[in-house]
């Protein structure tokens, strides 16, 4: 600030460059994100769909699309599916990440090969989700290698049809999500753990605290902000779950639409050109993520003020 006062002429002359440097971002944002978003919201109030080859609408119908989403039971069902698969993946993910983070940052353990392990556990995150999902589909198919192994070692008498049972499909989706994200979460939590004042650990050790006590009494409470951050960003990511279940079930969400997620449903409406319903669904997703990101915003803001 003093600099501004000191050379105010010089700086004022340059400051218009602030606007110039922002132009590309703002222009692209307005064209490719803001206008589409407004048009999406606008479309959600219209009846506008294809019935066979006949185009129905657009006709203003107020909130009827929203009412239909809820009353048909589709939205609650797909929301439930999405949440179940997210929770099934997230719970093991956060537990394993906390454990690994605590081990990696524990100076008394002095684990060797940390770089190797970190590289390996982060690897699945970079694999194309569609390829990973297609891989799991072939590996777990009725005549695939997993069934072949399980039958040959005698766990199953005959191949288990993973793709036609509700909980095995959900389980596979959750497992892929777990594998893809636990490395990332571990690295994030480790950064949080290393940020904790080391003298706290030393003091606790002098007082004779066990590793378990240190973890539950010191590490965990101090990690609260970052844990909330990880949880909400993962939840926002979970709501966007698409590639993995889409490819695994070929967009059908089988069996009996039990693995159909919200975005898969949106994708279906977009392809069948049912714009009214797609719009209403998008707006609901926007509201949910809006609320969730406000929580993240609040948490990180209070964290900064500390």
């Amino acid at each position: 600030m003093e600099k501004t006062v000191h050379k105010s002429n010089n700086v004022n002359k340059h400051n218009r460059w602030g606007y110039i440097f922002l132009i590309p971002f703002i222009v692209v944002f307005v064209i490719f994100q803001l206008i589409p978003l407004i048009s999406t919201i606008y479309n959600s109030f219209f009846e506008n769909y294809m019935s066979g080859l006949k185009h129905v609408g657009p006709k203003f119908i107020g909130l009827a699309n929203y009412a239909k989403l809820f009353s048909s039971g589709d939205l609650p069902t797909y929301f439930k599916n999405t949440m179940i698969m997210w929770i099934l993946g997230f719970v093991p993910q956060i537990l394993v990440s906390l454990l690994l983070g605590a081990w990696f940052t524990d100076p008394s353990l002095r684990l060797k090969g940390q770089r190797f392990f970190k590289t390996v556990i982060y690897l699945p995150n970079l694999i194309m989700a569609s390829a990973f999902s297609m891989l799991f589909f072939t590996l777990f198919s009725d005549s695939g290698p997993i069934n072949s192994i399980l039958v040959s070692i005698g766990i199953f008498a005959k191949p288990y049809s993973f793709m036609s049972h509700v909980w095995s499909v959900r389980g596979l989706v959750a497992m892929m999500n777990f594998l893809m994200w636990f490395g990332n979460t571990t690295i994030l939590l480790m950064a949080g753990m290393m940020g904790i004042d080391q003298s706290l650990f030393e003091a606790a050790e002098v007082d004779g605290a066990t590793a378990r006590q240190i973890f539950f009494q010191i590490t965990l409470p101090l990690l609260r902000p970052i844990l909330i951050y990880v949880m909400i960003t993962s939840l926002i990511g979970g709501l966007q779950m698409f590639d993995v279940p889409q490819i695994l079930t070929n967009g059908k969400g089988d069996p009996m639409r039990s693995s159909m997620t919200l975005i898969m449903y949106l994708n279906k409406h977009l392809f069948s050109k049912n714009y009214g319903m797609a719009g209403a669904l998008s707006v609901i997703l926007l509201i949910i993520t809006g609320i969730l990101s406000m929580i993240v915003f609040k948490v990180s803001a209070t964290n900064e003020n500390k």
């Binding site: 440097f21 194309m128 797609a278």
Partner: protein, 295 residues
């Protein structure tokens, strides 16, 4: 004398006990880590083995050893009707262009906010942070309608240009600038009479190299892996990207396929990424946290 001896003995036994528990915990940690590493890698191992086997061999069940059909599976794949090489090339072009535009313009936007004082700066910054978490899918409907009105469907423009406005990359760059971009250097360049755009290109960009490398990798990967948007935009066969081709493979009557070729295609999509990742893992694993989360 006696007391101090007892004291020493006690602290020794305590120390012994502690080393024992440390040993036990270390053993447990290694066991869990090895199990998790196995769980991460086994799929790719099975993929590799199966990509080396013929359709008939695959029908007889799994064996843990590679066979000799890798080259034949690959040549069959390349000669087949699915344009996989073209698909990979398309993915590569889109991802490379997106990553380049994204890091260049995100750095520029961050620099605009970081280095200058102007009216509405706080408001713009807060606004960008606020939209950071909004998923692209929620505006997809308006996006595809606008693109078709602008006659941009089935082109790469809707897949590349939007990368210029990337709030997450912007935020990372802004964080990095706060600790790594000395104002004195910029002042010195100004005194030397360099223009603002030249200062940005010749002084700021080189100083941002580490952050640019990390973000370029992450943007590249995100674009490379993207299935949702390209699937809505691209329709002609030769323009399709790798994820779309994989989805089509799943959609086709794959049971009648040569399974060796199916595995070869998945391997073709996955293994190049693994090789590149192993070469760049230092930057990637380190880059996940640096600036990403403020702690």
């Amino acid at each position: 004398m006696r007391i101090s001896k007892e004291g020493i003995a006690m602290s020794e036994s305590k120390a012994n006990k502690q080393t024992n528990t440390v040993h036990a915990r270390r053993a447990l940690a290694y066991t869990v880590l090895i199990l998790l590493s196995f769980l991460c890698l086994i799929w790719f191992y099975v993929l590799f083995i199966n990509a080396t086997r013929s359709n008939n061999q695959l029908k007889t069940g799994f064996t843990p050893f590679p066979s000799t059909y890798l080259v034949r599976n690959m040549t069959n794949l390349f000669k087949g009707s699915t344009p996989v090489v073209r698909g990979m090339l398309n993915s590569l072009i889109i991802a490379a262009c997106s990553a380049t535009l994204c890091v260049y313009f995100s750095t520029m936007t961050a620099y605009g906010i970081h280095a200058y004082d102007f009216k509405g700066k706080r408001a713009i910054f807060t606004f960008i942070l606020a939209i950071m978490m909004i998923p692209t899918q929620v505006s997809a409907l308006g996006f595809i309608r606008l693109m078709s009105r602008m006659k941009l469907t089935d082109t790469y423009i809707p897949l590349i240009i939007p990368a210029i406005a990337a709030p997450v990359t912007f935020f990372y760059m802004k964080q990095y600038m706060e600790s790594n971009l000395p104002g004195s250097l910029i002042e010195a360049a100004r005194i030397d009479g360099a223009s603002e755009i030249k200062i940005f290109n010749t002084i700021v960009l080189p100083l941002m190299k580490p952050a640019i490398a990390v973000q370029a990798i992450f943007t590249f990967v995100a674009s490379w892996n993207n299935y949702f948007t390209p699937n809505l935009i691209i329709s002609s066969k030769m323009k399709k990207t790798l994820p779309i081709l994989l989805a089509e493979l799943r959609n086709s009557d794959w049971k009648t396929f040569d399974m060796g070729q199916v595995y070869a295609m998945i391997a073709f999509a996955i293994f190049p990424v693994i090789v590149v990742y192993l070469l760049l893992s230092k930057y990637i694993v380190g880059g996940v946290t640096a600036g990403g989360v403020k702690e």
